[in-house]
Symmetry: C2
Subunit: 463 residues, 2 copies
């Protein structure tokens, strides 16, 4: 590692007390990391670029023109940065159109009609122009669902209404417990003869935003219409069912699958000074759900990845290994971008040493993760104190659905991760409330600098 | 401590593994604390009450009708809770009216005119209806300011433009470094003959919101007009001054002081079962700046205080000591509420054991503070593990401007505190952007439950 250019801030710090007490490998590590945080916290490039992405490519799910605009924008941003190279990596992706605004309506002979707030799940089937209606079977948890038979379900609309527990202290664990309803519920309901499906939004808060996401039908099952209800609408439907179990629900959705479309991963890199064929990559996914600006999921992660490169360029530090920022296409639907990236990486030779995916929102970072062996984790112990001034822990963990496929080609690759505060993530996730306005610049940039710092250490010392 | 009523959740938990591994004083402590978090994270009362307060008593600075509406509202809320008593404690407060919308305008012979975004500082003088204009002296830091003399300043408008360093890792420390400009700047400028004052908003972000706050004039100084510029407007003015040092600025503000007004602290309590004359109090301040909804500063802190009482009532736990929630009036201007509370507490006899003030925003809590002696801190060591599952540390620290006066009457009182994430606080502080929408229910309620848990331990074990 050579420090080619030290800006005056670093030079000044080198002369002051800030360095003492660091356990690190070398005193300069604390100084370099401080310079990353200083630059990240005082600059607006990543934040303004996120604003542009959110406001101009809103709804950039794979296969749509907005996704192409996001590809062009991030390429342009990286081309303006004086990187060693920037290129597009072709990926064929699926496409789907939502069609006309969805309708879901309670029809009760006793209590009249009532509109509910809903959005179709991604890649669910349409009802046809005239919609459909039917009686409703409410499902409260997986146990109860497993006991239902075709006799209970055939010809009906299944309403999966298991709540995302707001008291679960790990939001991601809370999500994991209810996720089956959206991913598998519609397919399982169709297998039992249901005509349609309503799913309570995967949202720990009670509000009016419906949260979409992918649903998958087994190969031997007929896709049926499936929509997410906002948590408040789900509560309303449940209460009405208690009053009138005979009520019917009308649903109308005109979503349908389109042709496969050519899209791209967007990649930028700084070539390694010693090991140009050994790679450390940081990525986010460029696609976002069609009803959302995709600010926390995952425009912010993309901008942090680009910012990692910018922080290296700005510092003048020449990395030993090649560093890449990768904007993956199609995380939300079929992870084609991640698969294509891994396939081509292997085909081109070289070695991927480490990969970090930022896809848990860009809230205040609590920890960085390294999914290492016990020996590797011992090595990172010495780094912990370097992150302490920034309130960031270093823990065992890492991975992501876009970088996952690399493991098949590079069994020794080290996955890393950014672990931000999770209290707010699922309130916004896959919904119209995931807007630029919900991202705080300082919180996002603490993450950017944390990621760059971890990459700096892994590049310098290996693992 | 008697557990009169255990709800079914607690009973269930007592039978499960959740309790093991706790170091605590008694296994039930972990269970009680878990029940506080469970209830806080699944209920909406505090959050809905905060929404009402923000939307219906916006701008409730002391002396205004909105402050009186906030008094009535919080009294009504607590009267509906089945507390042992709820009452109003009279406080005479100052008043001030902002008047017509402020005007600040650059007048440059070379570059024309340009409007800036500004708001008068609280209790600053008006310009009169015709406004005033003058050349500008820009001040970058305190050192430079200390060197200026009457010859540099007389007849001019002083522009305090020291930036709130966004790279300062402690936002409160960053605020402390620039605070002098607003609190003392106008008075010092007047003493040197300035006709008016512009102060860069105490905001680490670059945006268009002006941030107000109190300014104080020395007794022997003539109050002059003083306004805060948004950080973006301050940058614009600074850039224009670099181009045209001869430019003038026009300012117009019609704020003026009014008469003193009768207002109130609002207090609710649960009487102690063993020591009714010994008090543990939790407070926030009810007043908020007149241009703000006062969501994080400090409607949220008020709602957490009331929620602490509600969590005790809901759990059925009867505290040994009397627990109070106190909504202090007039923290922002002259802290009359805090002074009145301490005075009356002493006059009525009994003893205040401990006091906690939540006034740093209601973001995700990082720590609870206890400002204890080394021996007392040793005692709290045993409590640390109880808070670990919630990601909350227990550290040495605590206090607040409303509870501060109690120390004069009860030298042994223990001050406590809630220490939330601070990355976002000063972006909103004292500005129109401090709205209900910026408060996350889960984050606020993690704080409420943390406070109630600390109060529970102090009530049970003392310090």
């Amino acid at each position: 590692m050579q420090i080619i250019k030290l800006n005056s801030f670093i030079a000044a710090l080198l002369l002051t007390a800030g360095v003492s007490g660091l356990p690190a490998q070398e005193p300069e590590d604390g100084v370099v990391i401080r310079s990353f945080f200083q630059e990240a916290l005082t600059s607006y490039e990543a934040y303004h670029n996120l604003e542009w992405l959110c406001k101009n490519t809103k709804g950039r799910i794979c296969g749509r023109p907005q996704a192409q605009a996001a590809v062009e924008f991030t390429r342009r941003v990286m081309e303006g940065m004086n990187l060693d190279s920037v290129w597009l990596q072709p990926v064929m992706v699926k496409s789907w159109v939502r069609g006309e605004p969805e309708q879901v309506r309670i029809l009760s002979e006793k209590y009249g009609t009532r509109e509910l707030t809903a959005c179709a799940l991604g890649w669910s089937a349409g009802t046809g122009a005239s919609g459909l209606s039917g009686p409703v079977v409410e499902v409260r948890d997986r146990e109860q669902w497993k006991k239902l038979t075709e006799a209970d379900v055939r010809g009906k609309i299944v309403f999966f209404n298991q709540s995302f527990d707001p008291a679960n202290l790990s939001a991601f664990s809370g999500y994991g417990l209810v996720y089956w309803q959206r991913s598998d519920g519609p397919s399982e309901a169709s297998a039992l003869g249901a005509t349609g499906c309503l799913v309570r939004s995967m949202n720990p808060e009670t509000d009016d935003y419906p949260h979409t996401g992918i649903t998958r039908y087994a190969d031997d099952v007929t896709p049926i219409p499936a929509l997410a209800l906002s948590t408040r609408s789900a509560d309303v439907l449940s209460a009405r069912l208690a009053q009138d179990p005979e009520l019917k629900v009308f649903i109308r959705t005109t979503g349908k699958e389109g042709p496969e479309v050519l899209s791209y991963n967007v990649i930028g890199e700084i070539r390694g000074s010693e090991f140009p064929d050994e790679f450390i990559i940081v990525g986010g996914h460029l696609d976002a759900w069609d009803i959302s600006e995709g600010a926390h999921d995952d425009g912010g992660g993309c901008m942090q990845s680009i910012e990692m490169l910018r922080l290296f360029l700005k510092s003048g530090i020449k990395p030993h290994h090649t560093l890449r920022a990768v904007m993956f296409m199609d995380e939300e639907v079929a992870q084609r971008g991640g698969q294509a990236y891994a396939r081509e990486a292997a085909a081109q030779g070289g070695k991927h040493l480490a990969a970090l995916e930022s896809d848990r929102g860009v809230f205040r970072p609590r920890a960085l993760g390294v999914a290492g062996t016990p020996d590797q984790m011992k090595m990172t112990e010495a780094w912990k104190l370097l992150f302490k001034p920034y309130g960031i822990d270093l823990v065992n963990g890492g991975g992501g659905s876009d970088i996952g496929p690399l493991k098949g080609y590079y069994p020794d690759i080290i996955f890393m991760g950014l672990i931000p505060e999770d209290a707010r993530y699922f309130k916004y996730h896959h919904s119209p409330s995931d807007t630029f306005e919900q991202v705080d610049r300082r919180e996002m940039q603490l993450g950017s600098a944390g990621i760059a710092s971890l990459v700096y250490l892994v590049d310098k010392y290996g693992l």
